[in-house]
Symmetry: C2
Subunit: 741 residues, 2 copies
């Protein structure tokens, strides 16, 4: 009996236990199990998927893209440009490897062109008006590409039309100081100045000339600056090498401001108010025209007057005199004028941006924007189609992963194929003007890849220092082109490095203090954290200012595939590096943006500034203490935010906490925008695009230089004012990193 | 045997079932149960707690607050002001009913005062320099309050010092048109103009006079405008009623711009760059001084010349002539001048804001800011201490609930007690300049309660239309003062209503198109959705421009408790209404901000604009189609966002979705800011503070009026430009409401 009872109890207990186990583990708790989204919100970057994505990026596809893009010239708003719009749309709307959506956005923009019926002429005319020499109107053809009828004649966009002539003078780079020096040697009234590219902005060479009564300006690229002195197309220059041939001419926009010139601060739509053309500022008021160095040689080596200073001498095998003014008595051009007949005209034309998006799965209202301009001057194989072909391969691989259901980024990715960049960053600027608030409030970062490859030695990165770390991470996981055992990072640190007080020896990333590509409206106008990536040549081995076919008719597929990136492994490496940065920014739970690295850059800038001008400012009763305090506040706040991040368990805490921190990171650069008080699109107080050789706050340093130069009280007041503006902006940025309340 | 088996199986099954039930429901699933924060993120407003909070708000406490605040005058930066700083800090740092934190923030601000040793004088002097009449320098004392030595002499802040005299003329309100009309009747060179308050801004009365050679300006409050014509202090005015006594003078700031005048766009800290005083714009350049109507009566009724127009006539029992210039021959003042000896001086002084915060529990990085200025001209019982006493009761009740652990708002609440408002919204403006980015990026709404009660008939609300609904909800749950069965809402709709195409008959909420109180920098500079609340008198029964003791020495506790809000039930109703709005904004899961109501207001503005000037603009080749299209886009986008909200289950979906929608709602008003191209602090294109009588877009309407008046091409270009600016801003706002990508 007792045995039966025991057996009964034992069985009962066993059954009960079995029941409990079944009930607890076997059956889904419908009410208490966490909602599906709980896992999603802590989605982070998937390294395995990222590797898979990187392995898919194919150099041959990039090559094929480039071939297609560079079949014909595709200058902004031409038939060739429209072809590229169609290509982008086709790829981005592809059912298997396209994006979620792609569309075009048109703007009516003010462009400048040479007159196809009346080509611009540069001649030497004697007193009887006989033409002694005519400069080439077109670049010499070495391949069929140069024979394409859509190769636009070399010209200076936004140079006014005009017919002028006068004695020739040589004015070095055409900087303010160059003309000033020359004006002390010669009476420049009524002269024509010939200048070389570099040293000053394009339009500045004409603008700087006007006060001296100069009637017109010529520009050429000196072989010393572009070719290590080489000049012969028999065996030295393209098509035998990558060097610029003697008739090669760099085209370009000669405006000082970016964006559509008739609709500042507004999107250039059809019905938008346009300012009167006469009210446009910052474009030349005298004719200016670029020519090849073979013609420059013919002109410069005949000049009279005394030899120009040593640092004005270029690569021609003659002494550069600065002019009598005009040619020397022994010259067959003696007493002759240089004549410029320029027939450029301006008109409003439709330019398109092509936009594509991949919607984010967790935070669709956070954007990572990747941009490249699509328009070229001629075939644009390097500029910009090296970047376009890279972008198309990136979108193909990412698009395919999305279409196959393998991946969707946490945040939204926006691809921007900008139009009319060559005319002054117009497509990207109009975009930022149209969507100003939306972009300011939602954009985590902007990645610009204009020229992807102009050389295959090393990565070159410019950006906000907060992005340094994610660029390093990406560069470490990509193989360097042509170096099996080295990463892009390894190569980079070899070529360009610095010693960080915190990180030790690391590659040197530069800053976006210029207006040279489409990052400018994002950085300076919107205050968005940005990056510009490119592969470039070894600047310790070659002194060329930029790749020698830049903006010429020689920037072709043939040029790129023979002399810049045979095999396209470098294009592939850029695609992988940029792609990895893009995916990390889009997918990381916590934005990979480092405030302490920003603090380090500010401290370096400050240190230089103090060294160079703290005492001068104090002598004018302007203390730099507020900036010192502000940078110190910034450092403390950055350290604090780092600490908050380190002590958090972001994947397991409320998603509103990581969102709060991510917002702090995203909005940091917004705080650096100066108050909306000044009619300038350039508002970022740290990176304000000023040409200044000092490695310090460009805006402040430039104001200091002006004040020292003019000595005027108002100039010093401006310095004082900037100290206040900057210190309050830096303090404002520090506030963004402190506890939110 | 079979029976035993059945019993055995039955018991086994029962035990098994019991086990399953225990295992499923009885034991916590440690791994699968949702994280604690999952419930928190969907926290919504708790109506029960809100009712409890409202029931705690005590009119007697408010009365006691007022008594304490108005013991002595507390003009900005005086000893009395410092006392109020200490009071705020003490209350907000109270261990049982204080806030999480409270502190002060100091600014060094440029203020203007009369010279205590050399009081401003207004006299009538005859040709022999004999003084025939001296206007009162102080207001007459009826209670001990007026005898306080810290009652500042009536003066015009920012009037320059100066000693001038001339023939007197009467210039109505001193508007541009008033002076223009008068200049056609008289040669105004060398005259002194007397004007009445109203019609034009204070400083404008002097600024408008300058082009005509007028040497100085007097200002007074006409009994017709303030007292329904009543004038006698024997039995008609205060202390017998609320009407202004004959020696009463309205003080005020006579600057046209707000914020510290020496540090535009920058926080006025000690080391901040200050512009030279001579570069300040928008303040009078000729002396201006306010006087009481008893003195104005003595002067105006003696004027010579012809009668002024009918609509220039005021409440005196004499005909208002506009002057000979000067007094009429039969007057004992004939041939005499009016002399002004003004000794005002400016200096930089320390003004404090007192800040307090309650940190949000779920979204601490979202702020609801509640502000009131603390400084007064004299005792300031209505302006601003009616609001201060309300704010202190609100913070007491909310603080107590937090300290007792009963409640913590979802979002952070920031209380701002502003200094130096009377001198031009200085404390609040410096605050917005200092924390520009932080505030722009995190502030959901700003609630301003300056004067809480100037009458007890009805609520008066001004704000962005998106807040209309939450104000209605709050008003419905608060009992109207003195009306047991009516709510604040019921009273409101009786006094001021409109018919909405969507809602039918509803109370009329006004717009924040002025610069009259501390909402101005939030609305116009930062673009933050804002609200201003006050209880006021019945404007259908009384024509007074504002409560008659406004800015005089009679704005005292005695005045308020006898004639404005005996019992303080109206103060209590305002506290509850404002408090309810505050809590709803801070606690609601989905921000109670309605885009379709905003669309309705834009459509009404547009309709008025089209009616008034579509044809005139078209005649100048300016089409209003872009604005029509933009308003239509806005409506479509608002409808779409409403639809998204309606079809969502926000409490159960990912918190990042409601965050995304809330960000869209919060940032809507930011999109209305014009591009940072114009050196003006007033950037909100819809509510731009322009004095215009048209019920339409103030900025555009004002530009239209200017262009019609001047006929100049540049004025019409400005209209055209504004059409573009506005339509692109409205389109930008529409974009904020569309799907985020």
């Amino acid at each position: 009996m007792i045995k039966t009872v025991f057996i009964g109890l034992f069985c009962g207990a066993a059954i009960l236990t079995a029941g409990i186990l079944i009930g607890h583990y076997g059956i889904e708790k419908s009410s208490d199990s966490e909602p599906a989204w709980v896992k999603d919100v802590s989605k982070d970057v998937d390294e395995r998927l990222l590797e898979e994505f990187l392995s898919e990026v194919d150099n041959v596809n990039i090559k094929d893209n480039l071939r297609e893009l560079t079949k014909v010239p595709h200058m902004a708003t031409t038939v060739g440009d429209e072809k590229t719009v169609q290509l982008m749309l086709k790829r981005w709307q592809d059912p298997e490897s396209g994006l979620d959506q792609a569309w075009r956005e048109e703007y009516m923009v003010y462009l400048s062109f040479p007159d196809p019926d009346k080509p611009n002429k540069v001649t030497v005319v004697n007193p009887s008006n006989t033409v002694l020499h005519t400069a080439r109107e077109k670049e010499k053809a070495y391949t069929s590409d140069q024979k394409d009828p859509d190769v636009v004649q070399p010209y200076a966009a936004y140079s006014p039309a005009g017919q002028v002539q006068g004695k020739l003078v040589y004015a070095n780079y055409g900087t303010v100081n160059d003309y000033k020096w020359l004006s002390q040697k010669l009476n420049l009234t009524g002269t024509i100045a010939i200048t070389r590219y570099g040293g000053a902005g394009r339009g500045a060479k004409a603008i700087n000339a006007v006060p001296y009564g100069i009637l017109g300006v010529l520009v050429y690229t000196d072989p010393l600056d572009i070719n290590e002195g080489l000049m012969s197309d028999i065996n030295e220059t393209y098509p035998h090498s990558w060097y610029m041939p003697p008739s090669g001419v760099e085209r370009g926009a000669y405006a000082s401001t970016y964006g559509d010139l008739l609709t500042p601060y507004l999107a250039a739509k059809e019905e938008t108010y346009r300012i009167p053309e006469k009210d446009i500022t910052g474009i030349p008021t005298i004719p200016i025209q670029p020519i090849g160095f073979e013609d420059a040689y013919i002109l410069i080596c005949e000049l009279g007057g005394d030899p120009a200073p040593q640092f004005w001498q270029g690569g021609f095998n003659c002494t550069y005199n600065y002019g009598g003014p005009g040619f020397r008595p022994s010259s067959h051009f003696y007493n002759s004028d240089v004549k410029m007949d320029i027939f450029n005209y301006c008109e409003v034309k439709n330019s398109s941006n092509v936009m594509g998006v991949i919607k984010g799965s967790v935070e669709p209202d956070r954007y990572v924007i990747y941009g490249n301009h699509r328009d070229s001057w001629v075939h644009g194989a390097i500029d910009p189609s090296s970047g376009t072909s890279v972008m198309l391969e990136l979108t193909r691989v990412l698009g395919k992963m999305v279409k196959q259901g393998k991946w969707r980024p946490r945040r939204s990715i926006v691809f921007g194929s900008w139009g009319a960049e060559e005319f002054g960053l117009i497509g990207s600027t109009e975009y930022t003007e149209q969507y100003f608030t939306k972009l300011s409030e939602r954009t985590v970062a902007y990645i610009n890849v204009d020229i992807a490859v102009q050389g295959n030695a090393t990565l070159r990165a410019l950006g906000m220092p907060s992005l340094q770390n994610v660029v390093f991470t990406a560069a470490k996981q990509v193989k360097a082109p042509g170096a099996d055992s080295m990463s892009v990072y390894d190569k980079w640190i070899q070529h360009s490095n610095r010693t960080s007080p915190v990180h030790g020896l690391i590659p040197r990333m530069g800053y976006l203090t210029g207006e040279g590509s489409d990052y400018a409206p994002f950085v300076h106008y919107l205050g968005i954290t940005s990056l510009d990536l490119m592969y470039t040549y070894d600047r310790s081995k070659t002194k060329v200012r930029i790749y020698p076919a830049y903006h010429t008719a020689y920037d072709t597929f043939d040029y790129s595939s023979n002399y810049v990136d045979p095999g396209f492994y470098t294009h592939q490496a850029v695609a992988k590096t940029a792609g990895s940065v893009l995916v990390r920014l889009a997918d990381s739970l916590l934005l990979p943006m480092n405030c302490s690295d920003y603090a380090e850059s500010l401290e370096a800038y400050l240190s230089e500034a103090l060294k160079h001008y703290e005492d001068s400012l104090l002598a004018m009763n302007i203390s730099m203490e507020p900036i010192k305090r502000a940078v110190a506040s910034f450092r403390i706040a950055a350290t604090h935010l780092d600490q908050v991040i380190r002590s958090s368990d972001l994947a397991n805490e409320t998603p509103l906490k990581v969102r709060k921190i991510n917002d702090q990171l995203m909005l940091l650069d917004r705080a650096f925008l100066r108050p909306p008080a000044f009619p300038s699109k350039n508002r970022h107080v740290i990176w304000a695009p000023i040409e200044i050789s000092l490695s310090s706050f460009p805006g402040l340093s430039s104001a200091y230089v002006s004040a020292m130069s003019s000595g005027q009280a108002s100039a010093w007041a401006q310095v004082h004012h900037l100290v206040s503006v900057m210190s309050q902006a830096i303090e404002g940025a520090a506030h963004m990193m402190l506890d939110v309340i």
